[in-house]
């Protein structure tokens, strides 16, 4: 059955539809792969083999009855453990939500189940999606299936959607959901040699996704390739009246309209992203990307995003500020952990519960966020950051007068080893290329571009205009076709 787990989302969907194999066979194959890898890769927080089988049985029955099959019929997927799933623990990789069993299903996961997908389990992540390495997970980090050449050091699968990237790269699932606040889909995809897209802010409903930073959070797919991402995004996206920031727009047929011919398109190369000391492998991948897009017919233009250097600082004010408020609801009253020391009053209970339940990085960000919103500092930090955010957004608007998409590296380095970056600031700096598009709410994706000198995947990032997921996917496809990325992690688990 190993052959089945090598298949991507579309291949599985088509194979089930044609009767080449059954959905149950597919679910069984992936359930086995998940079980086998769980100890080594720690990609899942909870596995749900029965749910995967039940969904598959339904698809097989639907097919047997000759009824129409959904867009993702027979495809088992992994669900980032930030999406509320009815009856299945949803923890955000935090002790404070351990054992929390939602009585509701997130809009995005419901759409996926409605399209015929099944759930293999809940995927590991950085706690509350705060992190770039998966090391802030209360359940231990997901481990990348990739290793450096001649080295067995455990590498990060990226973050925050590191369980998703590890699982897709290790072929434990053909596709997975991710969420992206400052790069949490793109960076893990880049680190593990897979594709992932963060759509325009508002494309995917945030209803039922544990909130990190509301003005930045967006869900998106992570999969083997661009076409799989396009199809899965179609199933995930769409207007949701339950989310006031949801875009009331039709969902285009991105997968049907995929077109790698970029004749007449202009690709912008932001000069500010050529940072000093940029990793040589990353720089080379970027140059390759430029050449590929030219080859696909695009014209390459030099552009400027002058406020890029302020994007990280802006992000690390706005995201913690929103998070400090979003995470106030974890107080031990209605769900989740309660730590009630002897003789404690209500406020003591809050402080004890939150001290016991939140991990160090979450606490750090809550404190930063609390501080920047506090009396006397609000304008200097938060208001200033929102003004700079306006400028960053304007930079993109200006740039998109000269080009249709922007090409940049996804991350400044390939995957690093777990434990290698102990200073939080070092980790934050790794988001340098992914954060600007998040601040501007733009669609952006990462596609594999090649391997670094020590054999690790490198990703290229395409950023598009608001609502132009199609342009992003098309450019991604053009790169994919030319990069011919076929490397896979050697199985060691």
């Amino acid at each position: 059955m190993t052959g089945l787990t090598d298949l991507g989302l579309i291949a599985i969907r088509d194979g089930v539809a044609k009767g080449e194999f059954t959905a149950v066979e597919v679910a069984q194959a992936f359930n086995a792969a998940v079980a086998e890898a769980q100890e080594a890769l720690n990609a899942f927080i909870v596995t749900t083999p029965e749910a995967a089988l039940a969904a598959a049985e339904k698809v097989d029955a639907t097919r047997a009855a000759g009824k129409e099959l959904g867009k993702l019929a027979g495809v088992p997927i992994g669900m980032k453990d930030l999406f509320a799933t009815k009856g299945v623990q949803t923890s955000a990789a935090s002790k404070i939500l351990e054992g929390f069993t939602p009585q509701y299903e997130s809009t995005v996961s419901q759409k996926l189940w409605d399209a015929g997908a099944g759930m293999l389990g809940k995927l590991n992540l950085d706690q509350f999606a705060m992190g770039s390495s998966n090391e802030s997970s209360a359940f231990g980090p997901a481990i990348s299936p990739w290793r450096r050449k001649g080295d067995t050091a455990a590498l990060t699968a990226g973050g925050s959607s590191g369980g998703s990237s590890a699982a897709v790269a290790a072929r434990l699932c053909p596709a997975a959901t991710g969420t992206d606040t400052g790069g949490s889909i793109r960076q893990p995809a880049a680190f593990t040699g897979i594709s992932g897209i963060k759509p325009t802010y508002g494309r995917c409903s945030r209803w039922g996704i544990v909130a990190f930073a509301s003005s930045l959070d967006q869900a998106g797919p992570m999969a083997h390739d661009v076409a799989d991402c396009a199809l899965m995004l179609e199933a995930m996206a769409g207007f949701d009246p339950k989310d006031a920031t949801s875009l009331d727009m039709p969902v285009p047929d991105w997968s049907a309209l995929l077109n790698a011919d970029l004749k007449g398109k202009k690709v912008g190369i932001p000069r500010e992203y050529r940072i000093e000391g940029l990793n040589a492998d990353v720089a080379k991948a970027w140059d390759d990307g430029i050449a590929w897009l030219k080859d696909a017919g695009a014209e390459v233009v030099d552009i400027s995003l002058p406020h890029s250097k302020y994007a990280l600082a802006t992000y690390y004010i706005i995201a913690p500020a929103e998070a400090s408020s979003n995470l106030a609801r974890y107080d031990g009253v209605r769900y989740g952990l309660r730590d009630l020391p002897d003789g404690a009053n209500l406020q003591d209970m809050y402080a004890a519960t939150r001290a016991a339940g939140f991990g160090a990085e979450v606490k750090r960000r809550i404190l930063i966020g609390t501080y920047v919103l506090s009396a006397g500092f609000y304008d200097a930090y938060y208001t200033q950051a929102q003004k700079v955010r306006t400028l960053i957004s304007r930079d993109f608007e200006e740039a998109f007068r000269q080009c249709d998409v922007i090409l940049a590296p996804t991350a400044p380095t390939p995957a690093f080893a777990l434990g290698e970056k102990s200073n939080p600031l070092d980790l934050y700096l790794g988001d340098v290329f992914s954060v600007p598009a998040s601040l501007a709410g733009l669609p952006a994706m990462s596609v594999p571009a090649g391997l670094s000198s020590d054999g690790l995947p490198l990703g290229l990032q395409i950023i598009g205009r608001p609502f132009d997921e199609q342009g992003v996917l098309n450019a991604g496809l053009a790169i994919e076709q030319r990069a011919q990325f076929s490397a896979k992690p050697e199985k060691w688990w």
């Binding site: 999406f83 509320a84 949803t90 955000a92 939500l97 929390f100 939602p102 009585q103 509701y104 997130s106 945030r206 209803w207 039922g208 996704i209 544990v210 909130a211 930073a213 509301s214 003005s215 009246p241 339950k242 989310d243 006031a244 920031t245 500020a321 929103e322 400090s324 408020s325 995470l327 106030a328 609801r329 107080d331 009253v333 209605r334 769900y335 209500l346 406020q347 809050y350 609390t370 919103l373 506090s374 009396a375 609000y378 938060y382």
Partner: protein, 501 residues
Amino acid sequence: MTESTYRIQGATGEWEVVIGLEVHAQVTSNAKLFSGSATAFGAEPNSQVSLVDAAMPGMLPVPNMECIRQAVRTGMAIEAAINKWSRFDRKNYFYADLPQGYQISQLYHPLVGEGSLTIEADEKAGIPEPKVIGIERIHVEQDAGKLMHDQHPTMSYVDLNRSGVALMEIVSRPDMRSPAEAGAYLSKLRQIVRYVGSCDGNMDQGSMRADVNVSVRRPGDEFGTRTETKNVNSVRFVMAVVESEAKRQVALIEDGGKVVQETRLYDPDKNETRSMRSKEDAHDYRYFPDPDLLPLVLDDAFLEECRASLPELPDAKRARYVDGLGLSAYNAGVLTNDVDTARWFEALLAATASAQNKPEADVAKQAANWLLSEFFGALNKLGKDLSSSPISPEGAAELLALVGNGTISGSIAKQVLEKMLETGDAAGVIVEREGLKQNSDTGAIEAVIAEILTKNADKVEQYRGGKEALFGFFVGQTMKAMQGKANPQIINELLKKALAG
């Protein structure tokens, strides 16, 4: 404007009180401000709580249009500036009745800006002439849940039914200077929101409650430090809070102490306020725009509908009753005081005019006098009010028409009303059945008059000698002789003629 002369007499001299009110008024809506759960009062605990109200992970707010609409209409009723661009902010603090850990409110860009209302002159209460009280803003926000402290020895219980219900916070300027002014302001505000229909004004059920800001100063000095007494739920208590808190502050200052800016609670049993230390440390609310909600932008069509749907407001109505209907200022005031009374009166007026085929202005006095001097008393005796009245405005109009066209006299009308209340039958049916039609047969009346004048020749003498007050005596005797069923107007005319000799 004549300033209030209300003063607190301290040991060291006179002190002036400065009062501002922040009134929380529950917006009349079916569903909550940001979720679809119901707002009905008195439901089973936590039965009107959605996943959104309980702040489950990943839940998001979507605003209820009706709540916005009602706040805008309220703003228009106080002639306030409506901000076409407003925003919701989060007010962050931890409390068991606040599931999100923040209240969604509007600090930086409220929906409604500057407005005002006018309180009536009330000489007896020390308000010599009408006074304009400034209103700084109205914003929309979420109500909190409720804590029960007496159900368990070591636990408090949380009921989130109220959590997320829409409130308007109506913030006055510190323009009031006496308990009476504060009371009048709150009553007027309640009257207006009830007219507009944006709040039921039910203070017993907490639909309206006030945070009372009080400070004292030497007359003419700068403002003193104020305290805020939270959640005062009646006009009477607001007045009591102002008085007791002002006295406390004066005593404190005169004792060499200083007033601290703090939150206080009113204890009606002791008639005093006390410091509410439990909320003291939460003063850094870290307001910031709610990132789950976009800016609220209202278009002209929306505002137009809000304006067009506003009813005639109490001040305008009162003026019209006086100028257009010819009612006394007092009666106009009583009839417009509460929207339900005004509504009932107008229905009665319309029905009366149509039953008698006369313009409203011609029957307004009759309707108003009957409503105020007959009907209220009769209802009162039964322990009922207009809302539980067994008689409809149309039924009452029929009764008034019978008086108007001379079928029955005013005194018979009283009997008929009692029967109507007793039996639920229509006025006409009762008059017919009981034979109460009044007698307008001039011949019969003349005969009775002649008899009475003969019997009371001495009084006739006195009358003719100038004691005209005796006229009433003759009317009474005649009416009595005719069992009250004679047409009083005809009696008057015929009596005058007969007495004139």
